[in-house]
Amino acid sequence: MIRINITKQLRLAHENTQLSIGTTIPSNTITAIYGPSGAGKTTLLKILAGLVQPEQGAVEVNGRIWLDTARRVCLPPQQRSIGFVFQEYALFPHMTVQQNLQFAAGKNGDKSYIDKLLHLVKMEAFIHAKPSQLSGGQQQRIALIRALVRKPQLLLLDEPLSALDDAMRHELRTELYHIQQQLQITTLLVSHDISEVYTLASNLIHLEHGKVVFQGEPQQLFGAASLSSTLQLTGEVLQVIPDGAIYTVEVLTGKNIIRVTAGEHDIAKLQTGDKVCLFVKAYTIALKKMNG
C-alpha cells in the first residue's frame, strides 16, 4: 500500500496551480494514471521516485516512510528500489544497449535475465548499438527493460509504450502484465491509451489540473456496454457523404469503420471528428479469433 499526501506548486495553464494529491495505491497491482497533458502525471511519478520534492506532504510505502516534509524525512531515490521509465527515455548516450542494461543490473546482475528481456522486446540484435543509433521505438523498448532489470519493488512507467506500433505495443502490454503478475511489482502506469489502461490496470487515478478527479476501477470510468438488446458503441465521425436525400456517415470505432445510413435530422451539425454513439440492435454476436 502506498499512501500519498502531497502538495506541490505547478506551472499549469492559466495560473500557477497546485498538484495536490491525497490517495492510496494498492500494492502488487497496476495502477493507471490517466489525464490530460500537463495534468501532473509525470510530476507525481517523479515525486514518488524522490527526483522532485513537493513543498509539503508525505509518502509512505508498505509502512515505510519515504517522504515526510514535516519530519524532514526524504529517502534518496537510490534507497527506494524503483524502476522508472522516463517519458524521454533517458538512456545513457555513451553506453551501448548492453552497457546500459549491465550498468542497471550492477555487478551481480543476472545475465540470462537481461537476455530474456532483450528477447522480449526483440532487441537482441542491437546490443552493441548506442542509443543515438536507435529509432524512437527501439529506445523506448530499451528504457522499459532497463527499468525492469533490477526487479524493483515499485515500477513507475511514464507512457512506456507510446512510441511503439500496434503489434509491438500489444505484445509488450501482455509481457508487462505477465512480468508484473510474476514479480508482483507495485506498478504505476501513466498512459493515454485507454485499452492499455483497461487491459493492464486494476486501479485508475484520473488526474486533472493537479487534482484527482476519479479513482477506482477503469471500467467505472470508461463504462462498459454489456451484451444486451442494444449494443452501444462510441466512435468518431470520419466523413459525412451526401447520397441523395440521405447521408452515409462513416464512423470509426477502434480500428473499425462502420458506415451508417442517416437522415437529414440525424446528421444535423454532424461533422468530421465529432464523437458519436451508435446504438446497434443486435440479435446475435459471434466471436472469432483472428490470425496474427
Binding site: 517523479k46 521516485a49 527526483l51 534518496p76 522516463f86 533517458a90 538512456l91 545513457f92 553506453m95 542497471a104
Partner: protein
C-alpha cells in the same frame, strides 16, 4: 652540440605528475562547483581563477615566502612531516598544481553544467550512488571537456617556467626543466642551442598533442574505464 636530455625527461615527469594530480583533485572540485547549491559559490570559483592573474614569478615569490623554512607553514611542514618543498621536484609539482588548477577545473565544471538533469535522475533511479553516477555516467559524457582540461593543464605545465624557476632553484636533474634550459640558452645568447632545444620541445609536445587528439575516441572510452 651535445643535447642534454635530462631537462626534457624532467619536464615530462613534471607535466605528467601535475596533470595526474590535477585530474584527481580538480575533477571533484569541478563537480562540487557544478552541483553545489551554495549561495556564494562565485567566491570559490573566483578564488580558483586568482593564481592566474599573478605573474608566475610573483606567485612563485609568494610561494617562496610560504614554503620557506623560515615561515610558519614551511616550518610546520618540515617539523611534522619532514617535508621540504623548496628546491625539490615535488615543490615544482605543488606549484604547478596551484597555478594550473583553473585549467582543469573550469572546463570540467562547464562540461558538467551542460549535462541534462535526466542523466543523473536515470542513474539515481537505478540505485546508483552519486559517486557511481559521477564516475560511470557524468564523466564519460563530458569527454571533450575532460580532454580540454587535460591538454591545457599538461601543455601549460610544460611551458611554465617563471614559477618553476623561482621555487625550483634551477637544479640540473632535479628542478631544471626544459623550459628553463631553453630560457637559459636564449638569455646567454646561445640562440643556436636554444633553437634546437625549442624545436625538440615543440616536436615532442606536438607529438603528444597529436596523439591525444588522434586517438581521442579510443582515449575517451578508456579514461573512465568504460
Amino acid at each position: 652540440m651535445s643535447i642534454d636530455w635530462q631537462p626534457f625527461l624532467l619536464t615530462l615527469q613534471l607535466a605528467l605528475a601535475t596533470t595526474l594530480i590535477l585530474f584527481v583533485i580538480g575533477i571533484p572540485l569541478a563537480a562540487f562547483l557544478a552541483f553545489t547549491r551554495f549561495r556564494f559559490k562565485a567566491i570559490p570559483e573566483a578564488i580558483i581563477g586568482l593564481p592566474l592573474v599573478l605573474p608566475p614569478s610573483v606567485l612563485g615569490f609568494y610561494l617562496l615566502l610560504l614554503l620557506s623554512p623560515a615561515s610558519v607553514f614551511g616550518h610546520w611542514l618540515d617539523t611534522w612531516f619532514n617535508v621540504r618543498l623548496l628546491f625539490t621536484f615535488w615543490g615544482l609539482v605543488a606549484g604547478s598544481v596551484i597555478y594550473s588548477l583553473p585549467f582543469m577545473v573550469q572546463p570540467v565544471q562547464a562540461g558538467l553544467q551542460s549535462l541534462p538533469l535526466s542523466l543523473r535522475h536515470a542513474s539515481y533511479t537505478l540505485g546508483k550512488s552519486r559517486w557511481q553516477t559521477f564516475i560511470h555516467v557524468l564523466l564519460p559524457n563530458i569527454k571533450p571537456s575532460l580532454i580540454t582540461g587535460i591538454v591545457l593543464s599538461f601543455a601549460h605545465t610544460i611551458g611554465e617556467f617563471g614559477l618553476v624557476l623561482m621555487i625550483g632553484g634551477n637544479l640540473p636533474g632535479k628542478t631544471q626543466t626544459a623550459s628553463i634550459a631553453i630560457y637559459d640558452e636564449v638569455e646567454s645568447l646561445n640562440y643556436a642551442t636554444a633553437h634546437v632545444y625549442a624545436a625538440i620541445l615543440l616536436l615532442f609536445s606536438f607529438a603528444i598533442l597529436l596523439l591525444v587528439y588522434s586517438i581521442r575516441k579510443k582515449l575517451q572510452g578508456s579514461i573512465t574505464g568504460l
